[in-house]
Amino acid sequence: MVNLGGARMIEIGTAIPERIFTINRATLKAYADASGDQNPIHQNEEFALSVGLPNVIAHGMLTMALVGKFVTDWAGGSAKVKHFGARFTKPVIVPADTDVDLTVTATVAAVDENSITLELTATSAGIKVLGMAKAVVFT
């Protein structure tokens, strides 16, 4: 067990409370500009449909960035993250003029002398969008 931040006792299996982020088309535009990824599948509905997608989809890396925010808020800041990985299993679909959810939860999977491993889940509209999502943070 690790006493993180003085108040929380952490052990394997500890569940971290769920958090819901909101994604809409404005989020995708802002992320495209901030990340440099201007792929039209993330902004242009006509283009997304033309390549066989159900609608505009969020950048996988935006999903991961938001899950990263969940991790860093829990761990106590961006500098705490040592390892972070995920597989992009399903897209987050973002119709026009709609707020979609990204719902994130985590469970403590390992506790070491100076780090904690979190297994993360991320869903949107009830569908799991990341696989094998894991972060290792310094205590």
Binding site: M61, G68, H83, F84, G85, F88
Partner: protein, 129 residues
């Protein structure tokens, strides 16, 4: 198709990349992060994807970026990124296989400050048939 000779090779980027506070601020704003003294953990994708696209665009390597889908991503952060950092970047094609006609390529990108690696990231790229 990827040139089999590319697998296992490391390609060095030309020049260096500097990180500005306004780049970190813009990235942090999208995810609602107010502390921008260090970059969010996935910020480096901004540097590494652009750098690896440029480094691995040589036709002799044979990676068709127009058909690439991002399969997975991982980061190993040795030193958190801050504004004012300057990095050189290298890309290594770590593994390659073909599955159901798709090419699956794992690229490792290292951001280096001098000879010290600040961050390594791995991107699995699926080149769709």
């Amino acid at each position: 198709m990827l040139n089999p000779d590319s697998v296992g090779r490391t390609f060095e980027g030309a020049g260096s990349v500097s990180v500005t506070q306004s780049e970190i601020d813009a990235f942090a704003a999208v995810i609602g992060e107010v502390d921008t003294s260090v970059a969010p953990p996935t910020f480096s994708i901004r540097i590494s994807l652009e750098q690896s696209q440029s480094i691995l665009s040589d036709p002799a390597i044979g990676l068709d970026w127009t058909r690439v889908v991002h399969g997975d991503q991982k980061f190993e952060i040795f030193t958190p990124i801050k504004a004012g950092d300057t990095f050189t970047c290298s890309s290594t094609i770590e593994s390659y296989r073909v599955a159901a006609g798709n090419e699956i390529v794992t690229v490792r990108s290292d951001l280096k400050s001098g000879s010290t690696i600040a961050l390594s990231s791995w991107s699995t790229l699926v080149v769709r048939a």
